[in-house]
Symmetry: C2
Subunit: 216 residues, 2 copies
DNA sequence: TGATAATTTGACCGGTTGGTAAACATTACA
DNA sequence: TGTAATGTTTACCAACCGGTCAAATTATCA
């Protein structure tokens, strides 16, 4: 009798680690493209290059795969916000936060879409994580922003909606990629669009918050 | 032999009109909540208050329903942009565009989510509409914005990315509603969040574009 | 090497889903 | 009112899908 994931005590064999990685990679590909309901286990198995029962040997259900994927993505997804530094210079903090979020949209669009899909469907699996860790982190950073505003370092504004607007504008380039490409047309839709977006967003947010390059 | 939609020549009976409306309303509800693949014909039939075969009498396939819905939504969805007036005052034009988009996110979140779902899945059914009518409209309005910028009425900026950022920030409140509520928490997540968002976005965009209230 | 555990697979199952067939009911109208 | 067109429903089907099983194959290691 084989007891794979559930019964593994501590150690994972190298083969387990590799296969699970292989599966999650395939799952990310398929889930991000078709959503949870739209993805089929067969599809994921095919992309992962293994049989369906073999896949289900490592993750007992489709939902287990999805959960594992979501938790991992959510975690790395928030890294840029964690690096937001209360001690830093507001201008460079905000600017580099935008840059980093935009880079993630460019380099990890599947992760962004996976997340977007989940939220769009009402976040059935991760509502707790949103109300818990996510909210806490945002609360903390919102307080930082509010402090900056009170100190007159940036314009007074609602910090929550500021964060929302940075999230939405940057992730837009991953989640709505098809639309962005369609509108920009073939000439302008090359990878240069991320540079253009970065320039625009920097201008919008830094000027919008009255944090034009401060004279030393 | 009954030949319903496909064979109807010109006239639609009152009963057809009513039923199709009823079906599309239900379809909007279900599709926007679960996506195309996640929605089932039975669900839609139940919400519409009729039997599945009856529903399929008016729309021969699930996909036909979805197509009809998407085209209709896409059309009304662009209304605010159409009203964008080249002759108007840049400040009030941009401000009222943001307001209108935000109102739509508040009042028609299902439509927004339906659209988001479609784009997220790679827009399999509407890529032509994006590259055609949508792109044309955006091109036209982008030109207006560019003219304003050249005339010094607003800051120089990439008009396409400006439009993208208005789309994303406003639709965020419909598409990512669950997340927004989770982060804001129960106290702040009342309907007041739309007013707060409006104030914030107005400040962000109008200041960001250097179109602070011009002295007459 | 031999035995035990871990991994892999083909065949299969029950439930769901999109869609059909045909009988039945209702409406429109000559 | 009669009848033909339109609308509605019950019963059903074939394909798909998530998941299981038992047998086969491969790795582990005493």
């Amino acid at each position: 009798m084989a007891l794979p994931r559930a019964a593994r005590t501590q150690r994972r064999t190298r083969i387990q680690e590799a296969k699970e990685e292989q599966i999650l990679e395939a799952a990310l590909e398929v889930f991000s493209l078709h959503g949870f309901r739209g993805a089929t286990v067969d599809q994921i198995a095919e992309v992962a290059g293994m049989s369906k029962p073999n896949l289900l040997y490592y993750f007992r259900t489709k939902e287990a795969m999805h959960r594992a994927l979501i938790t991992r993505v959510l975690d790395t997804w928030l890294d840029p916000l964690r690096e937001f530094d209360a001690e830093g210079n507001p201008v460079s903090e905000i600017r580099s936060y935008i840059r980093r979020k935009l880079e993630m949209a460019r380099d990890f669009p599947r992760e962004s879409r996976l997340f977007a899909n989940e939220i769009l469907q009402g976040a059935p699996n991760i509502e707790d994580e949103l109300k818990g860790p996510l909210k806490s982190l945002v609360d903390e950073k919102a307080e930082v922003i509010r402090t900056w505003a009170k100190a007159g370092k940036i314009a007074k504004c609602d910090p929550y909606h500021l964060i929302f607007s940075i999230w939405s504008t940057t992730q837009h380039y991953a989640d709505f990629d098809v639309q962005v490409r369609a509108v920009l047309g073939q000439n302008q839709a090359g990878e240069g669009r991320f540079e253009d977006a970065a320039r625009f967003l920097e201008q919008l947010f830094l000027t919008g918050l009255n944090v034009s390059e401060q004279p030393a």
